[in-house]
Symmetry: C2
Subunit: 460 residues, 2 copies
């Protein structure tokens, strides 16, 4: 027998593929005790990875094997599609029990990812108090601080001393499993400040808690957008911050680990959106084939439209191409270079908008810079492309035409690369989401039109 939990991870703390195979073999041999002993020492995040890596049938068998000591902390770590399958295997009853064991922020997160019908089934099987807490959490907008926050926290009156606080913490069993800060509140339960734990430990017993609050930590309104919350945590290096409702009462806390999830999710989604993958969940790797094909169809369909638009520009010059077939050979080059140069600008701008480095104060300056960058690279690539075109077709006019079209399209690319995301952002749209379609439409149309148009005008 394998040393349990020993060989599960490789030296990078990732699940070892051989271990995944061992578990799958045990499950297929219907040897539940063996499978159970293999996974018994796994950390809940590694268990979530294991469930994700097994195929559908083995996943069901594993859930069956570990049902009796299923660790609820696995659930928030799973990709949504895998979690749905785990819920089917557990059944609503056991799934509801697991949710009850989670911290309120995790329970709200998991419940929020369920279909409305499934959610009703699960909530109906929960104790009244937990159910009310989750329903209250779900009443906040999906991208708000209210959804991120955890209700469990440690709050003390503002007249307490360090000594009283420590005595209270040692005597009570009602504190959360983990906490990074203590909140100081007034008699109406409004947050007066946050005391980080190291300040409690380095202060003498008679010191007033109100005197050692961190003056830099702000109160987060429950309806603040989660991206703003993440920005604030990053900017001010918070480890925990209080959340207050409209009347100013302390109703929860947001901790740095919640913010790590937000940063990771938002940054990861940007690359997917950029490439035209609808990122409805943090990972679409576990989606079924049909669902994946469907989710990508819309973006490809829009691209087909822009491809036909580009074709119709070429169609205008069909008679020029009939006269000079070299035009057909060279015409994709300017369009392709424009698309690539524009995408470079676009990615820089999308990233700068996400990190809030770009805003009204410097937009105009950056726009001019991008246009100049386009101009410089435009001249360089005009020279290179013109020279190659001349060597290939021995036609100086053709070389001049492609060089001129290159300059025009790289300037257009620089301008479109900054203007499109800024306009989308101003309109409240997500600049990462649809900017590439607009951009390549511009660079294809300008690329083909300038090259074929100049050729028709100068050469034919």
């Amino acid at each position: 027998m394998l040393p349990v939990g020993e060989d599960a991870l490789d030296e990078g703390f990732e699940l070892d593929p051989a271990f995944v195979e061992d578990v799958a073999a045990a499950l297929r041999a219907d040897d539940k005790p063996w499978a159970r002993s293999l996974v018994s020492d796994l950390h809940y995040a590694d268990m979530a990875d294991l469930l994700e890596r097994l195929d559908r049938e083995d996943r069901r068998l594993l859930v069956e094997a570990i049902r009796d000591d299923f660790n609820a902390d696995v659930l928030p770590e799973l990709a949504a599609d895998v979690r749905d399958e785990v819920m089917d295997a557990l059944g609503f009853e056991d799934f509801a029990t697991a949710l009850t064991e989670l911290d309120s922020d995790d329970a709200v997160y998991v419940a929020g990812k369920l279909d409305a019908a499934e959610r009703d089934q699960v909530l109906a099987r929960m104790p009244q108090a937990t159910r009310a807490l989750i329903e209250h959490g779900l009443s906040y907008a999906e991208s708000s601080a209210g959804r991120l926050m955890q209700r469990e926290l440690v709050a003390v009156p503002n007249y307490w001393t360090v000594g009283e606080t420590i005595d209270y913490l040692r005597s009570t069993r009602t504190t959360p499993d983990k906490f990074h800060a203590i909140f100081v509140v007034d008699p109406r339960h409004r947050p007066q400040g946050v005391v980080e734990l190291h300040r409690v430990l380095t202060s003498k017993r008679p010191v007033k808690m109100a005197d050692i609050v961190d003056p830099e930590i702000d109160v987060i309104p429950v309806d603040m957008d989660r991206e703003e919350v993440a920005f604030l945590f990053r900017q001010r290096n918070f480890s925990a911050a209080p959340v207050a409702d409209k009347s100013g009462r302390l109703i929860g806390q947001i901790t740095i680990d919640d913010v790590v999830d937000v940063i990771d999710e938002e940054a990861g989604q940007d690359i997917l959106k950029f490439a035209g993958v609808r990122a409805t969940d943090e990972s679409s790797l576990y989606r079924s084939i049909m669902s994946t094909a469907q989710s990508r169809f819309l973006w490809l369909f829009i691209n087909l439209g822009t491809a036909f638009l580009a074709s119709s520009v070429i169609g205008i010059f069909e008679s020029s191409i009939e006269k000079l077939s070299a035009l057909a050979v060279l015409m994709p080059i300017c369009a392709s270079m424009g698309g690539n140069a524009g995408t470079q600008t676009l990615a820089t701008v999308v990233r700068a908008l996400a990190t809030r480095d770009l805003n009204a104060s410097n937009a105009l300056r950056i726009a001019w810079k991008e246009i100049f960058v386009g101009l410089i690279n435009g001249f360089l690539f005009a020279a290179i492309t013109g020279a190659i075109a001349y060597l290939w077709f021995k036609d100086p006019l053709l070389a001049i035409v492609i060089a001129s079209a290159m300059i025009i399209n790289l300037i257009a690319a620089g301008f479109a690369g900054i203007a499109i995301p800024l306009v989308l952002d101003r309109w409240g749209a997500d600049p990462a989401d649809s900017a590439v379609v607009f951009l390549t439409t511009v660079t294809d149309v300008v690329g083909f039109f300038s090259f074929l148009g100049l050729a028709t005008w100068i050469m034919l």
Copy 2:
């Protein structure tokens, strides 16, 4: 006079553009006291943003105005190009003094971003002890745990009790400004475990520190890659972890806020690399025009090569295009759709590799899935494109040719979209970095070759 520090931020805690303008106006009016009073209450991260948003000359003036009470914590928050200008304005002497005030991890980070010549100038002006500490930090590889770690930490012997620990923390002034955990070490200073501060506060005085260590927190080897460190923190929800040297001695700690920076930087760089922007620094927004143009040149040059490769494929079929100019009009469509479909797959795979959702256990399964997705969307877009081509050119053979080429290229795109990043990853290359060039080369060549080749074979 404006209420100082009051109107500096908007409701989203971002710098207000009007405030930036006020500061610039004060600086240009050469009214240093006014400028100083405007910025005196700014948080250091907001001060860094302000410096970034001012233009070059105003930036120099502001540094001049605040030189006497310059907050060193501003430095790590600046984009590298802006930091270089701030260093020029401060001078090596004052810059060195500022570095000395920083925590060791921040000082190493800032020193590591300097040119070798500048770094020598700065280090030469520092006290011997600080200098040795920074040089030691710089001796670790740039992407290693050693660069991330902070030397300042709280360690106690493994036989101490909670009471002894609290008494020590209250009596000493040598603890770091902030700490999230206490490290328990054996007599040879090897880490025995980590005690999170809430465990100290909720335990009674006679409890042994060694009995309340968190069993899940691992020791991080000093040469571990920072992406692995980030993965481990995310996976296990650490807030702080000990770093040990080769002999197993505790030499530093990594905290969650360092990891947030890594996650943010890596995820943000992926979108830039994906678009072919060399992300040598977290933001290239503040680079000069020439430096920006230069940094983008290489990628565009490689793209020019692939564009000419695609042109040479078209060149093979020049005589076919001469006979049937409709081929020139329609030929970009399959290539463009292949490029877009392949990029969708590529982004999904790059993201899944980054989050470690994709590995040897499931690569083959995901590869088959992507090829099937290509097949399904291939058939759908073959039908749509064929229909439009028929309505446009009234040629059933042309419609069949474009439809067949579409299926071929979307399957090729799905295959290339997963194979290219996996091969790059296996070779130890960064899959986000150069995958798009290889991908579009494949989809352009297959797209043009299949469409023009089938047309030549079937129609001419």
